[in-house]
Symmetry: C2
Subunit: 224 residues, 2 copies
């Protein structure tokens, strides 16, 4: 009985992923039409996605017109923080859903002033498993892995690291207080995904923010 249930699940999942792919393509079409560069930020809960977005806004909002889509299981906490920076933001609450999907993004885009956006940051639900399965139509996929999570995350959650365009090793300011091997996480990422750009960042001290923002600007330029 269970075996049967599981087979059905796989089939339905495939249908959903196909449908997701179709809507993701539509989203990407909209991004390209309006020359919006979009980044999907994925991480475990509390790895520092919102803080990195806030620092990125502070650094870049005078150079490019920004907007944010916030994904959370519940609450508007993160969207409120973004709003305080004077940037357009849409909050998506997934209920029990463990990832954003393309259809949620499509609905969020209906509520954003597309002709006035150059850079769209999408904060996914805090999760290292589900977001790997759903493409949103984004130009870049970025995984944030923070020091307190330990240096074994690429080995334990390989799928999400494998197709990331960049990996942010975050909360680097905590290095003196943790048993964390920077080489191990770096080698872990390189082993899975040699092309991924790796950043070492602390949103708290500002370490690495300059380099991160320069990368975004360079990628936006390469795209336009």
């Amino acid at each position: 009985m269970i075996k049967e249930g599981q087979l059905v699940k796989v089939k339905v999942l495939k249908n959903i992923l196909d449908a997701n792919e179709a809507i993701a393509s539509k989203n990407k079409g909209l991004f390209n039409k309006y020359k919006i560069f979009s980044i999907n930020l994925m991480s475990a809960p509390g790895a520092g996605k919102t803080s990195l977005i806030l620092e990125t806004i502070r650094k870049l909002k005078d150079k490019v017109r920004m907007a944010v889509i916030e994904g959370d299981v519940a609450s508007q906490l993160d969207a409120n923080k973004i709003k305080e920076e004077g940037v357009a933001v849409v909050q998506i609450n997934t209920g029990g859903g463990c990832s954003l999907d393309a259809n949620m993004i499509s609905q969020a885009l209906d509520n954003l002033p597309l002709p006035q956006i150059d850079l769209l940051l999408i904060e996914n639900v805090g999760n290292l498993v589900c977001p790997a399965q759903f493409t949103l139509g984004e130009h870049k996929r970025v995984v944030i892995s923070s020091l307190p999570e330990g240096d074994d995350k690429p080995v334990k959650y390989p799928i999400i690291f494998t197709d990331a365009d960049a990996v942010v090793i975050n909360k680097i300011d905590l290095l003196p207080y943790l048993d964390f091997n920077l080489n191990m996480v770096q080698r872990g990422v390189e082993g899975l995904n040699p092309k991924a750009k790796i950043f070492q960042i602390s949103s708290k001290t500002g370490t690495g923010i300059e380099e991160w923002c320069s990368w975004i600007l360079a990628e936006m330029k390469g795209k336009s």
Copy 2:
């Protein structure tokens, strides 16, 4: 088309959850038959489940006969650490799956010496969303929330905190280095789930381990 897909998904999910429930009951029957007290440990990736299990083993293995089931998307890293402590362990790799389910536990139980186990610790996949949906037949559900994840986790991931029997606020040794409001997380948990026992723990310094282990022993006694 998507709407239809989503409806189908809900229906199948219900079937899967019903089937899961049935197998979980079977697991619980086995636990009770062999007088095994079982705890399901759930948290975000890197919140310190394995370290807490290791400290619990060191503290309790002379008092009770222990075993561990390790759940991970990939790798045997955690099972190897447990094995070094001389405790029976089964590693489950879920592939892309974002939670353990009752069927996985049922299969793991086939590979454990049930008559020789008093306390079974089950380490779930690192995830604050999916494990909330799957009961495993366990006696106690424990959520670990570590300081570096931030004090807003109960507000942002309410479902998993709502039916927990206990919440471990972990990595308490990092308090001096973080902007973390202990009151806020405590009130967050109490607001959702006033009955949950709350522990403040550091596996690194040993803070709170004594209280945590005493709670387990008392609950085991209450059960037998």
